[in-house]
């Protein structure tokens, strides 16, 4: 019996997005990344035709030394935690980060309440220290982000950064400035595919180009809701393949933050669960690999050993 063909041609594919601008495009990046482009479900079809671009890892750099990171994670950054530029350099040069994501935790009113000037300085320092593309991620306090992120966006003008996140009830200020400064935008939704679609429509109605959007569906860590993020990722990909242009964007996940909050990743002194030094990086890597099955294109990560595991996985599948 001949094996039937299962090749499927879909109406849509994931938008290809290039982040970072080199000198010839008016920026100072020494490398860019291009993501997206998948034409099928992850692992369906043939690798050469369907898989799209290789997913990338954006390593987190905080604008303030973390106070609540578990020891195993903190130990990796003890020498650079107060210096975002050195931190970013370490991620790129020693840990192989494809991108840096500056997370402006320190501007949050409850976590340091730093000013826009502080955030601009961190942005400029990191841009000067590394040549990879940069993502600029607010503190997720709307009022404060609306004050700080426009200044950050402007400071990085010309670098073609990825800026976020905008949400259904807070998108106008950041969308406008991101558009004006020529960056890419992250649209966020709380694990709700209808809201995800809605916020994409809202920002494109403002004139923001759909092909410069990356979606963030919210992330659940392994063991703590990853199945919701996983199924929304799969549903976004299916909508994309069916030709829905309002869902055809690449997807970013926040794996580092979510997985290192989890008890299983950080609890020490439980030998029956294996060494904490293994468990934390494995929990982070597994969360990432799981979400790659659902169609993630950019993964925000923290631990270098987890990054190495995920890169090894990615290189086996997208070579």
């Amino acid at each position: 019996m001949a094996i039937p063909q299962v090749a499927q041609n879909f109406a849509g594919s994931v938008t290809e997005v290039t982040l970072g601008a080199t000198a010839e495009n008016g920026g100072t990046r020494t490398s860019t990344v291009t993501i997206g482009g998948a034409k099928n479900i992850v692992h369906a079809g043939t690798p050469a035709d369907s898989a799209g671009r290789k997913p990338v890892i954006a390593m987190d750099v905080l604008d303030v030394a973390p106070t609540d990171w578990p020891d195993e994670l903190m130990a990796q950054y003890a020498d650079v935690a107060d210096d975002p530029a050195a931190w970013a350099k370490k991620c790129v040069e020693q840990f192989g980060a494809d991108m840096i994501c500056i997370k402006f935790d320190g501007v949050h009113p409850d976590k340091g309440d730093k000013t826009a000037e502080d955030a601009v300085k961190v942005t400029k320092d990191v841009l000067a220290a590394v040549g990879v593309p940069i993502a600029l991620w607010g503190c997720e306090n709307n009022d404060k982000d609306n004050k700080v992120m426009p200044a950050v966006s402007q400071a990085a003008k010309g670098e073609n950064c990825l800026i976020g996140i905008v949400e259904e009830d807070n998108y106008k200020a950041l969308t406008a400035i991101t558009l004006a400064d020529g960056h890419h935008l992250i649209t966020g939704a709380p694990l709700d595919i209808n809201i995800a679609k809605q916020v994409n429509i809202l920002v494109t109605d403002m004139g923001f180009p759909a092909e410069k959007i990356v979606t963030f569906q919210s992330t659940g860590a392994l063991g703590y809701g990853i199945e919701y993020a996983y199924s929304i990722g799969e549903r976004q990909r299916l909508a994309t393949l069916a030709g829905d242009k309002t869902m055809a964007m690449p997807m970013i996940c926040d794996v580092g933050y979510e997985s290192w909050r989890v008890k299983e990743a950080k609890l020490e002194g439980v030998p029956e669960w294996g060494e904490a030094a293994d468990r934390g990086p494995m929990w982070e890597a597994t969360t990432a690999i799981c979400l790659l099955q659902a169609g993630a294109d950019i993964i925000r990560m923290r631990h270098p050993r987890a990054v190495a595991m995920v890169k090894s996985y990615i290189n086996q599948i997208w070579d």
Binding site: I3, A44, P47, G274, W283, T286, I289, Q316, D319
Partner: protein, 444 residues
């Protein structure tokens, strides 16, 4: 693939004899299509039609069981490509390796390590369910003796791994009653292996280099009278495995292609512990059995959690028991927080309370497994539900104060809640992640 009423009608005698109790053959066919009638009710139907109908009614992917009694596991019979369409039915089975060239001491240590790969996580028991015994020595008697020892010292289903029919036969001598999975039949040994599987009533792995080889193998094994088959692609490439697993699942489910309508086994052999984490992709994307080459508990806790999550029912929120949970060394002065019994909500709150290092009582209100906002909008979280939870928990005898921290998102409940319970409410943060800061400031 399901047949329509008209498809079935074509297979019936079309005599309208009414012996089935229906006025016409067409009416009977419609009942059959809706699974409201049994074909046996028709005395006139031909054997050929019976076989066609039986084949069409069979699940697109075979259910395969191995092990016996308490150790029996089942894989396969999956019906969906995506977990949001329908729950994945039979969770992937993890099966660590044990090689037969180990010294006695090494073997004992390995068995002990394998036996420790059972965990309790969020109130559920999770663990490995099988073990893979590998004939690395090449000697049949060594394999048989190791298989006998392992079989006697584990409560797990066995996978016997050798391409030498003599070795499999020897190992089955003492283990056949435990119904091991035989791994594997290849193009070279399929006749002998299939005969051994048939004789011992054991399921068997078909191992081939391509889908075409696997198809050839399953046809041969089936012809030899063995129905329970597991597919395994003979490649070290994870990429090739994943693309083939997706293709096989699609062929079975969407094309009703029977020769590949079986569960799959994939082995990640060699490499360090970190490399084994790639098994995550095999669990998500369609490998029913995953053979791993490590016994590091951290790897298993992680991968078993993947299985727990991916195979959960997307239609049914996971719940925790609505009761009082005390976190840390609580006293009569410890704060009391309430939240809902949606497990995700509860475990997020629990982990943030732990992070605060402030011992707390968490009062879990029964909201039928919905989150705070959903429960509030659906009126499953109201002053009465909280008052009930307070009464049932006996918290009034446990703490000496009457202060209740309520989720920030339902601050609006405050007034009614105070009336209904006589407790003073304190509005906590909206996001659980702000709990540590809140607790340290308000109660630290």
């Amino acid at each position: 693939m399901a047949l329509t009423g008209l498809d079935i009608f074509k297979l019936l005698p079309k005599t309208n004899c009414k012996k089935c109790g229906m006025p016409t053959c067409l009416a009977f066919a419609m009942q059959l299509a809706q699974k409201r009638a049994e074909l046996d009710a028709c005395p006139e139907v031909s054997e050929e039609s019976k076989n066609t109908l039986a084949a069409a009614a069979a699940p697109p992917m075979k259910l395969v069981k191995f092990g016996t009694g308490e150790t029996e596991v089942q894989v396969g019979q999956e019906t969906a490509m995506f977990r949001h369409e329908e729950k994945f039915h039979n969770p992937s089975v993890l099966a660590p390796t044990i090689y037969d060239d180990l010294t006695d001491d090494q073997l004992a240590a390995r068995i002990q390590a394998v036996n420790s790969l059972q965990f309790e996580r969020v109130g559920e028991q999770i663990g490995i369910k099988a073990v893979t015994i590998i004939n690395k020595s090449g000697a049949a008697d060594t394999f048989a003796s190791v298989a006998t020892k392992v079989a006697a010292s584990v409560k797990l289903a066995l996978i016997l791994c050798s391409e030498n029919p003599g070795a499999i036969k020897a190992a089955l001598g003492s283990t056949a009653s435990q119904v091991p999975l035989i791994a594997a039949a290849t193009l070279e040994n399929v006749d002998k292996m299939a005969a051994i599987a048939k004789e011992n009533k054991c399921p068997i792995v078909a191992k081939g280099a391509s889908l075409e080889d696997l198809e050839t193998l399953t046809e041969k094994i089936k012809a030899a009278g063995v129905e329970d088959i597991v597919l395994s692609l003979d490649t070290d490439s994870l990429k090739e495995n994943l693309y083939s697993l997706s293709q096989m699942r699609t062929l079975a489910l969407k094309k009703a292609f029977r020769p590949l309508g079986y569960p799959s086994l994939t082995a990640l052999i060699g490499g360090d512990d970190d490399s084994q984490i790639a098994a995550t992709s095999l669990i998500c994307k369609y490998s029913g059995i995953v053979v791993l080459d490590t016994v590091n508990p951290a790897v298993y806790l992680t991968l078993l959690t993947v299985i727990m999550n991916i195979y959960s029912d997307p239609q049914k929120p996971v719940q925790v028991e609505p009761k009082l949970y005390s976190i840390g060394e609580t006293t009569e002065n410890s704060p009391v927080i309430f939240t809902t019994n949606f497990s995700l909500t509860y475990y997020t709150v629990e982990s943030d309370v732990e992070a605060s290092r402030v011992p707390c009582h968490i009062l879990v209100v029964d909201t039928e497994g919905t989150s705070v906002l959903t429960a509030y909008s659906g009126d499953k979280l109201n002053d009465k539900a909280v008052a009930d939870a307070i009464t049932k928990s006996g918290i009034e005898d446990i703490v000496s104060h009457k202060k209740l921290i309520i989720p920030g998102y339902v601050a609006v409940m405050s007034g009614k809640l105070e009336e209904a319970t006589g407790w003073e409410t304190m509005v906590g943060p909206r996001e659980s992640s702000m709990l540590p800061k809140y607790l340290q400031e308000v109660w630290g």
